[in-house]
C-alpha cells in the first residue's frame, strides 16, 4: 500500500484538474475524484502491473464522469452549473488574466463532452494519443479526429466571440 501511496498521491492534483474542467462544479468534481481514489485503492492489486498508473487512474475517473453525465442526461438537467470563480485562479493571476482564463474555460465548456475530454487529456494532462485512446476506450484515429474537431470548434468560439463578455473584448484590444 505504501507503493500505492507513492504512485497515486502525486497524481491527485491532475485528477482534480481534469474532473473540475469536465464537470465545472467543484464539489461534484471532488466527489468524483474521491470515488475514483476509493476504487483505485480497492482495485490496486487487480490492475495490470505493466500498465501505466496515470492512464489507469484517468480511465477510472473518466468512466465515473461519463456515468454522471448519463445520469444527469436521463434526469434531463445540466451538470455544468457553476462558473469557475475568479478566486480559483489564485493570487498570481492579474485581473485581466483572470477574465481571459474565465472566458476560455466558458468556451471550452461549450464543446461537446467527448471533444472536451480529448482536448483536456492531450493538451492539458499531457497524455499521449495512445494513452488518451485507452482512457476513452476509442481507437487512436478517433482521438485524432476528435482532437481536430475540438480545436477547430474552440477556435471558432474564440474568433467568433459572439458570446464574449464585452469587458474581455476591450481588455484584449487594449493589450
Amino acid at each position: 500500500m505504501d507503493d500505492m501511496l507513492h504512485q497515486v498521491e502525486p497524481l491527485i492534483p491532475a485528477l482534480r484538474r481534469y474532473a473540475r474542467a469536465l464537470m465545472r462544479d467543484r464539489a461534484s468534481a471532488d466527489d468524483l475524484v474521491q470515488d475514483c481514489l476509493e476504487r483505485a485503492v480497492s482495485r490496486w492489486y487487480q490492475r495490470r502491473r505493466d500498465g501505466d498508473v496515470r492512464a489507469w487512474l484517468f480511465t477510472i475517473l473518466h468512466n465515473l464522469a461519463v456515468n454522471q453525465f448519463r445520469k444527469a442526461a436521463s434526469r434531463g438537467r445540466h451538470v455544468a452549473i457553476e462558473e469557475i470563480s475568479e478566486d480559483s485562479f489564485g493570487e498570481a493571476a492579474s485581473q485581466e488574466q483572470k477574465l481571459i482564463y474565465q472566458d476560455v474555460l466558458a468556451k471550452l465548456a461549450r464543446l461537446p463532452e467527448d471533444q472536451r475530454a480529448v482536448l483536456l487529456l492531450v493538451a492539458v494532462e499531457d497524455l499521449s494519443y495512445a494513452e488518451a485512446a485507452k482512457v476513452l476506450g476509442i481507437p487512436v484515429g478517433t482521438v485524432m479526429s476528435r482532437l481536430s474537431r475540438a480545436r477547430e470548434r474552440l477556435q471558432q468560439e474564440i474568433e467568433g466571440g459572439a458570446a464574449q463578455p464585452s469587458n474581455v473584448v476591450s481588455l484584449r484590444s487594449a493589450t
Binding site: 500505492m4 497515486v8 492534483p13 482534480r16 484538474r17
Partner: protein, 257 residues
C-alpha cells in the same frame, strides 16, 4: 526532397510536441512555406497554452481532507471488504453454534455508546438522504401512524421533533436496524432540498446521559447526545453552526416529552 506529406495528425502532434525531432523540423519547414496553415497551428498552440494556464491553479489548490489518500487507504483497512465479510459469514454458518464464538473475537469489535449512535446516524444519512425514490418509509402526512409504529418498536413514546421554525420541514421517517436494536429515523428538508436526519434509539445502558458532541465523517457532520437513556444524533451537510442549533432545538423539544 522525398519528405512524407504533412498530415493533419502531424500538425496536431506538432502542437502537442509529440513528434520526433526530425519530423518536427519537417513540419516546421512546411509551416514556413504555408503561412495559412502556420496561422492555424499557431492558434491551436495558443489555445493549448491558454487552457494550461487557466487550469493550472486547480492543481495547486490544497487537497481537501476527503481526498487524503492515506486516509482513504486507512478507512479501507479498517473496514473489511465485502468479500471478507462473506467469508466470515460462511465460516460462522459452517462452524455453527458451539464453534461460532471462536470467530467472534476475530471480527472487529463494534463500537458502542455515542460513537455507535453517531455512526448509525451517518450511515442512515448516507443511505437514505440521497434516495430520490423512497427516502422515508412513511411520509409526514402519516405522522400519527409513524409515531405509533416507532414508539411501539422502541417500547417508549417517541416524539417527532418540529423543525419548521428553523426552516426544515418533516419529510417522514422509518425504522432503521442497528447493532443495538431498532432506531427511529426522521428526515427533514429545507427550501433548497438540503436534507437532515435525526436518529433516536434507547442507549441500553451505555452512555445513557451524554453531553452533545460533534461528529463528522467525510462531508457529513452531526451532533449526538443522550438524555435519560435515549440517544439522539442529528446529521446533515449543512454548516456546523446550523446543525448545532437544530440539534439544540431537537434536544429542547425531546426533554418536554
Amino acid at each position: 526532397m522525398n519528405h512524407r506529406p504533412i498530415t493533419e495528425d502531424d500538425l496536431h502532434a506538432y502542437v502537442d510536441q509529440a513528434l520526433e525531432p526530425e519530423r518536427s523540423r519537417e513540419v516546421s519547414a512546411y509551416l514556413d512555406d504555408h503561412p495559412d496553415v502556420a496561422k492555424r497551428v499557431g492558434a491551436f498552440a495558443g489555445q493549448r497554452d491558454l487552457l494550461r494556464a487557466a487550469l493550472a491553479p486547480i492543481a495547486e489548490e490544497p487537497l481537501p481532507a476527503a481526498l487524503n489518500l492515506a486516509r482513504i487507504i486507512e478507512n479501507r483497512r479498517r473496514r473489511p471488504s465485502r468479500f471478507g465479510w462473506a467469508v466470515a459469514a460462511m465460516l460462522l454458518l459452517s462452524i455453527g453454534g458451539a464453534g461460532g464464538w471462536v470467530m467472534h473475537g476475530a471480527l472487529p469489535t463494534s463500537p458502542s455508546g455515542m460513537v455507535a449512535l453517531a455512526q448509525e446516524a451517518a450511515d442512515s444519512y448516507a443511505v437514505y438522504a440521497p434516495d430520490h425514490e423512497r427516502p422515508v418509509e412513511m411520509r409526514a402526512s402519516d405522522t400519527t401512524q409513524l409515531v405509533q409504529w416507532v414508539s411501539s418498536r422502541l417500547h417508549r413514546p417517541v416524539k417527532v421533533p418540529n423543525l419548521s421554525p428553523s426552516g426544515y420541514r418533516l419529510m417522514g421517517g422509518r425504522l432503521v436496524a442497528t447493532a443495538h436494536g431498532p432506531a427511529a429515523m426522521f428526515m427533514y428538508d429545507d427550501d433548497h432540498g438540503s436534507r437532515i436526519v435525526v436518529l433516536t434509539r434507547p442507549m441500553n445502558g451505555t452512555d445513557g446521559n451524554a453531553p452533545m458532541t460533534p461528529h463528522t465523517r467525510d462531508d457529513v457532520a452531526g451532533f449526538a447526545w443522550a438524555d435519560g437513556g435515549i440517544g439522539y444524533s442529528l446529521v446533515g451537510q449543512a454548516p456546523t453552526d446550523s446543525l448545532r442549533s437544530l440539534a439544540n432545538e431537537v434536544r429542547k423539544q425531546a426533554r418536554t416529552i
